[in-house]
Symmetry: C2
Subunit: 272 residues, 2 copies
């Protein structure tokens, strides 16, 4: 194997891990099915490699033991909280609550009692969440990171950003974050919303899954058109849209100098 630069080494290592049959480092141990097309597309470009991804998920989280100020207790039982349910599959949204209603872990339906409103910060909430697609892409250089960032932003992934070492985070704001109950001192799960409200949340989560998948497909097409099969003019246009008045003036000045220089070079070449 010939000597490679650090980016190529990292890319080769990541691709070999993706293509192996070993579980990866995520809790789930594998790449989400819906992420595979965009991961394959991005990795087909020699200046990009995907480092982590999540296709979007529903989760139900039980908070850990807290003190009266709401600070998580160190060493307490249930410290740090735990996920009671996680699924990346829209077919596994409806019915999640039945999987929690077991002999070990009974769910008590109820309402918000007055004493809960008056309680201190130690209440351990049950949180229902929908989190959208997120993708991290390491780029060979800042120019590549910038191109990917601009395409993602223009496609509605408005919480994207470039981090250290040309690592681009592609993020969108399609979320649900709903307190649906609490864990009592006997570790039982108490709901303070109705079964119908849970069904409504599940229905909303399904629309989030759809919206999210639609945005993922849009992003796929934009990356394919503007980066993989991209022409430099398109990326220059994108740049023009982003720049401020001062930057535009500065760019025009540079472009003018460049034209003058070229004209001079041509003249020099003609008279040589």
């Amino acid at each position: 194997m010939s000597a490679q630069n650090p980016f190529d080494q990292k890319k080769a290592a990541i691709l070999s891990e993706i293509n192996s049959s070993q579980p990866d480092l995520s809790p789930k141990g594998s790449i989400d099915r819906l992420c595979l097309p965009i991961i394959k597309l991005i990795n087909s470009h020699e200046d990009m490699v995907t480092t982590s991804s999540c296709s979007g998920r529903i989760s139900v989280f039980a908070e850990g033991v807290k003190d009266y100020k709401g600070n998580v207790k160190v060493g307490g039982k249930g410290q740090g909280g735990k996920w009671l349910y996680v699924s990346h599959d829209s077919d596994k949204v409806r019915g999640w609550i039945d999987t929690l209603n077991t002999s070990d872990q009974e769910i008590i339906s109820g309402t918000v009692e007055d004493n809960l409103i008056a309680s201190d910060g130690s209440t351990r909430y049950l949180l229902y969440k929908y989190e959208p697609f997120i993708l991290h892409v390491k780029c060979r250089n800042f120019e590549m990171a910038s191109r990917l960032y601009n395409v993602a932003m223009a496609c509605g992934f408005r919480e994207s950003g470039i981090g250290s070492n040309n690592l681009v985070a592609v993020r969108i704001n399609i979320k649900l974050d709903v307190p649906i109950g609490f864990v009592d001192d006997k570790e039982k799960l108490n709901l303070f919303v109705s079964p119908n409200y849970i069904q409504l949340l599940d229905k909303l989560t399904l629309t989030k899954f759809e919206e999210n998948e639609k945005k993922m497909k849009e992003l796929y097409v934009k990356i394919e058109n503007q980066i993989i099969n991209g022409n430099p003019i398109a990326s220059l246009e994108a740049k023009k849209e982003q720049e401020t008045k001062e930057e535009r003036r500065e760019r025009k000045r540079r472009e003018g100098l460049e034209r003058q220089r070229k004209a001079k070079d041509q003249k020099a070449a003609a008279t040589d």
Copy 2:
């Protein structure tokens, strides 16, 4: 006034706007009180200028008219939706619902009816949100943007990112995003949660306001210590923590070459 580069021009224009008594371009027309210290701190550095901010807020949003697929109808009444309540002030969290319960706009308390669960995508939801502090800072160069980004990330603002033109977005994930009702075809607001549940949400929002303010203060201190009064060693340490194995090897190699070069220069200087 002497000639300035584009960054200094932009910074001067922004500072003069901040210091004027004219309303700014935000819907509220002024900078949130809680943002003032950190904005002042950041703008005291010659290589940074704040371009927009929000100190965190509670909001209640009524979705606009949608078709059965959930797409927003163009030209429909209420198209695009509207904010029924927005406040950046934790003293104005409790009691928001009373401000909506007017003769013009009655709120109907209720539950989630079966027909709502079965309905198509056209339901116009009432959404209760808490959104945390967000800040945009334009930096003179990428090095400065990178330093600010690293400090923000290390301080728990894990959704931060660098955008185009060295604009850093400082973001944190402290959120609530809860469907609490819907707008019916007579434009009336129907809740499907109980008054006690709303009170509980308000209580949770107040803890979010507190947590958010605590994080803002932490960020202030970190920026002050590590950037404003910062020493280069601290920023080098932060860099070491972020880098990959390959990048570490590459840095070590560069540092080695640098040492050799210096040693050679000293030797040359000594023999000159």
